[in-house]
Amino acid sequence: MSDLMQTFPVKRIIEHGPGVKSFYFDRMTDAVAGQFVNVWLPGIDEKPYSVSALGEDWLEISVKAYGVFSGAMMKLKVGDLVGIRGPFGKGFTFRDNALIIGGGIGIAPLRILARELSERNFRFVSLLGAATAHEVIFVDDFRRRSSNCYVTTDDGTLGKKGLVTDDLLEIIKKEKIEFVYAAGPEIMFVKIKELIDPLGIAYEFCLERYMKCGIGICGQCTLDGSGIRLCVEGPVLNQDDLKAVTELGLPHRDASGRRV
């Protein structure tokens, strides 16, 4: 694989529930947890998606329907051709005694992380939250691999009713957590940061921004304060990277570059 555009047929689709699907392709690339690929739907657009799992001969991405593009993804059928280039970006580092926090479709890059951690025999605990049960994708997988797996849903259809951040501090204490991984909506990062910065625990967040090139030249995904390019130096940033970032939780730039 490479930065050059190539197309691949969809090999298999899993529907987790309304508006949440995983797509499988022949494995066209290596990738580490946190890295993403650019997905091109001809005639529609091209957007970044985390690699959510890798098998011997397959690659998985997991998508939640939000707008035009992810909506179009939902209509893909097995055999349809999709452009894929990458992998791009820098992934997670591997730590022992970590807590993995996933919010909604942010669970995607954590699925491959969980596998990489357990392959290294690292102990970790999972804390997954989403709007509703079927959005906690691959929850069995996390249950199997984690030494403990906490789940919350907004509607209480799975696990505890509430947000992932509700019992965060207690879980950290109880599970003797030394490191935090998180991926999900930006507001979740803001909340987590508020809660754990005082504890001095190190962490890595997998962020999202509107992206164009994926190769570090357009400047679309740079973060105010640090000038870091999320597509190259991210999307995984640690507490040090985030120190200089002044825009966490604030409006992001759209395709024009305006903050909206």
Binding site: L81, G216, V232, S256, G257
Partner: protein, 305 residues
């Protein structure tokens, strides 16, 4: 020894971030200077109103460079004026504001408003090859339009020097450069992207870029850029920001020998990383050392002798 004088400016080294690359925010451009080593930066080209630009894919690597049709997406002048001011507060390196208009009057207007941000130079993009469909041929393909824009931008730019950015197409870059000089331009930036080109995915059997066509940049265009700078240097006496396909120090030396005062670098960031500026500055310095030159001036235009 890498220091270089350009108009009324002193740059730490002759490398400049080219327009359209990492030039959207103060933070991004600051990083290009501090970590990347650029001697100066150019903003993304902007206009009065923000533009979304084309959908993705809008920037496409191919084996010998990039194809891009970003479609002049930009956040509009208000946002950019803020970013330029922020950059000026935080960073010593000169900043060049790249502006464009959809009409000749808009070039005047955007210049007038840009002056308030006090950039060190206003670079006037009249050569973007990606906007045909919307604006017709680039203004820079016509000597008359080039003359008019140069004149009107100069009138509105006050004390701020103006560089006109030319493409390799149209009636010839040397002729256009002469027109710019005659109408008051302080410098020439050459060149913008080449082509445009198109790449077709043979499996889905469609052009890949959402805009179908896009300008070619990077290593593929180095010879065309070197040739353009060479011709412009022969034609005019104002300094040149030589841009196009520079990825390694040897390319930059070619540009200087052709006559460039500054070296614009865009796609090189993709090939060599954000510190391409530093690498090129060091390499050029080593070249000068090895050959016993004391300054870049000694070799500028050297290929003409």
């Amino acid at each position: 020894m890498s220091q270089v004088k350009f108009l009324n400016l002193k740059l730490k080294n002759p490398t400049v971030l080219a327009s359209g690359i990492l030039g959207l925010t103060a933070s991004s451009m600051k990083r290009v200077v501090e970590f990347g080593g650029a001697g100066a930066v150019t903003t993304k080209s902007f206009n009065i109103e923000w533009r979304k630009g084309h959908k993705n894919p809008s920037i496409l690597p191919f084996r010998h460079g990039l194809l891009n049709a970003v479609g002049l997406s930009n956040p509009g002048i208000d946002e950019m004026v803020k970013e330029i001011r922020l950059f000026r507060r935080q960073c010593d390196a000169p900043i060049f504001a790249s502006v464009f208009g959809r009409t000749i009057d808009e070039f005047a207007e955007v210049t007038r408003l840009t002056v308030e941000a006090e950039p060190d130079l206003i670079e006037v993009n009249i050569s973007c090859p990606n906007v045909h469909s919307e604006f017709g041929q680039p203004f820079g393909n016509s000597c008359e339009d080039t003359a008019k824009i140069t004149e009107i931008v100069k009138k509105n730019a006050g004390d701020i020097p103006v560089s006109i950015k030319l493409g390799p197409h149209g009636p010839g870059v040397a002729r256009l450069a002469r027109v710019c000089e005659e109408h008051g331009a302080d410098a020439i930036t050459a060149i913008n992207t080449v082509g445009p080109g198109m790449l077709i995915d043979i499996e889905v059997r469609k052009p890949i870029l959402s805009n179908k066509t896009g300008g070619v940049s990077g290593p593929a265009i180095l010879p065309i850029a070197v040739k353009s700078v060479y011709e412009v240097y022969k034609a005019v006496n104002i300094p040149i920001i030589g841009t196009g396909g520079v990825t390694v120090p040897e390319d930059a030396v070619q540009m200087i020998l052709a006559g460039a005062t500054l070296i614009g670098i865009g796609t090189g960031v993709y090939y060599q990383g954000i510190d391409v500026f530093k690498k090129i500055e060091q390499g050029v310095r080593e070249y000068l050392d090895r050959h016993g030159f004391k300054s870049i001036e000694e070799i500028r235009g050297g290929a003409h002798e």
